[in-house]
């Protein structure tokens, strides 16, 4: 309990900054929708359709209907998801590796707690942090999308997208913790975690650009919860849910196993 409290306090400031960032992101993104709406949404759709496919992929539009608020939000969602993933990966690697980086591990592990318990407290604290981040994104999204929706029901769709984002956050959180648990070099853990994230994101864009790469879609979690797919199908693809579960459980096991067995770097 004490480690949990300590971590909540230590991460409070960063969580507030990230929350403000995501609110700003949603607000400025949806702000652009209002100007788009004024210009007539359909013309925007037509304009996007004329663009080369690679450009569409980078913008994340694809088959989304930009004339509806939720369709437009679907484009924005990609960037919210990337932001949430960066937050989760950095949080995950940092919450573990900072003790070695700051050499406070010699203080912490001499206390009467096992490494497993310490890890659990930290994971729970990180989990609460990403839940808060998710809820902030959810609340600001619902608030702002509804403003443009003219009474249309959007909470359901946004809840679904946020559900996908949460699973994405979980995956990147454990990618972060697994890297920090596996590698002895605490200073490199966070940059490695964000590097992997960037790589996976670029793959997901590349898949959108080039149909030949479609087979790679199982290797990047960003493809698991694609707004285009979720909004069209109205739910999650069971295969991707299964893959997410395997990755999450696998990396959680990696986190615990390696952290318990390896020498602390002091």
């Amino acid at each position: 309990m004490n480690i949990f409290k300590r971590e909540m306090k230590a991460n409070r400031k960063s969580l507030i900054i990230w929350s403000i960032g995501v609110i700003f992101m949603v607000a400025s993104g949806m702000g652009k929708y209002s100007s788009l709406e004024g210009a007539g949404g359909q013309s925007m759709n037509a304009l996007m359709a004329d663009m080369p496919k690679s450009l569409q992929a980078i913008m994340g539009t694809g088959s989304l209907d930009l004339s509806t608020p939720i369709g437009y939000y679907g484009v924005l969602f990609l960037y919210l998801a990337v932001m949430a993933a960066i937050h989760a990966a950095m949080l995950g690697s940092n919450i573990i590796s900072k003790e070695e980086r700051d050499k406070t591990i010699e203080f912490l592990l001499v206390k009467p707690i096992s490494r497993t318990r310490m890890m659990t407290s930290k994971l729970v604290a990180a989990l609460v942090n990403i839940v808060i981040f998710n809820l902030v994104t959810f609340a600001s999204s619902v608030g702002l999308v509804q403003k443009f929706a003219d009474g249309e029901e959007v909470i359901g769709d946004i809840s679904m997208l946020m559900g996908g984002m949460f699973i994405l956050q979980l995956i990147f959180l454990v990618i972060g913790t697994a890297i920090a648990a596996f590698f002895k070099n605490a200073k490199k853990a966070t940059s490695l975690a964000t590097g992997i994230l960037l790589f996976l994101f670029i793959i997901s864009i590349a898949i959108d650009m080039n149909e030949k790469l479609d087979g790679l879609k199982y290797f990047t979690p960003f493809k698991y919860f694609d707004a285009k797919l979720m909004l069209k199908e109205g739910g999650f693809e069971p295969l991707y849910l299964g893959l997410s579960a395997i990755v999450f459980v696998g990396l959680t096991i990696v986190t615990y196993t390696f952290y318990r067995k390896r020498d602390m770097n002091i």
Partner: protein, 294 residues
């Protein structure tokens, strides 16, 4: 009863040596010195005992329990002061100490105040703003606040001024009288000599000897220097156990190990002007052990 028992403990960092085949035990209630130069493996041994790192081979027990499988339980009764103290910089001293205390299931507030009083530590300051010596004081309070049965100190005096060192030693002696066992690692021999009952000497990752401080001194030579009124034949002192016999005018000096009566009888035979018999200090004994190994 042995509080610490180390059996053939070896720790390799890849191919690099950490410690090799280290064995010794620390009895309940004693102050045990652990001496050796920098890089000899003192910290490696201690960190292995605390399961911060794991041994390559060999085993050790503390309070009769295995250091790896029973680690969390053992640590309830261990107080540890690392050679360099690192804490969460943005915390206040009191918050850090309370955080530290929260891991032990007892109320330590009174003890924190007591210790901070003795060590003259300001509890309201931020860790970030503390000098090296003051951080060390935080470490001392932090290591002793739960009244541990075993206190492990890794070069504890670096950064402390002599006055504080004195207070710290008094504090340790008090804890020892109350029943705490102390493992004291250092490369400064005088402090070990002052405080410890027994010592283990470690060199290049191996234990050279484990000895009572008193035996360590007994078993070694004494330094003799004799000044005579008239020049005498130095061969008079060519006895068993005499070493480095030197003559400089009317003074003769040598090292002697053995029954001191034999020497005293020889000295009684001659007319002397002055006589010095010196105990070698631990420093010299220590060097002796080191040179012997090379």
């Amino acid at each position: 009863m042995n509080v610490i028992e180390i059996k053939n403990l070896t720790k390799m960092y890849g191919k690099a040596r950490g410690i090799e085949d280290v064995s010794f035990s620390v009895e309940e209630g004693e102050i045990f010195g652990f001496i050796g130069p920098n890089g000899a493996g003192k910290s490696t041994t201690i960190r292995t005992l605390l399961s911060l790192i794991y041994p390559t081979s060999g085993s050790a027990t503390i309070f009769g329990k295995d250091i790896i499988t029973a680690a969390p339980e053992i640590k309830k009764e261990i107080g540890y002061l690392p050679s360099e103290v690192f804490y969460y910089d943005n915390m206040k001293v009191m918050d850090l100490l309370k955080y530290s205390a929260s891991f032990y299931k007892k109320d330590c507030t009174k003890r924190i105040r007591e210790l901070a009083d003795i060590m003259e530590l300001d509890l309201t300051k931020k860790i970030d703003d503390l000098s090296l010596g003051n951080k060390k004081k935080v470490g001392i309070v932090q290591g002793l606040l739960h009244e541990p049965k075993l206190i492990i100190l890794d070069e504890p005096t670096s950064g402390l001024d002599p006055l504080m060192q004195q207070k710290f030693f008094d504090l340790l002696e008090k804890e020892n009288k109350k029943g705490a066992t102390i493992l004291f690692s250092s490369h400064i021999l005088s402090e070990v000599q002052r405080l410890c009952d027994r010592v283990a000497i470690i060199k290049d990752g191996r234990i050279v000897t484990v000895e009572k401080i008193s035996t360590l001194k007994e078993n070694t030579y004494k330094k003799f220097k004799i000044e005579t009124n008239s020049t005498i034949e130095k061969d008079l002192f060519k006895l068993d156990g005499v070493n480095q016999l030197e003559q400089d005018g009317s003074t003769i000096s040598f090292l002697f190990r053995g029954n001191i009566n034999a020497i005293m009888r020889k000295i009684a035979e001659i007319e002397i002007a002055n006589l010095w018999i010196e105990e070698p200090n631990l420093e010299e004994i220590f060097m002796h052990y080191y040179e012997k190994e090379e």
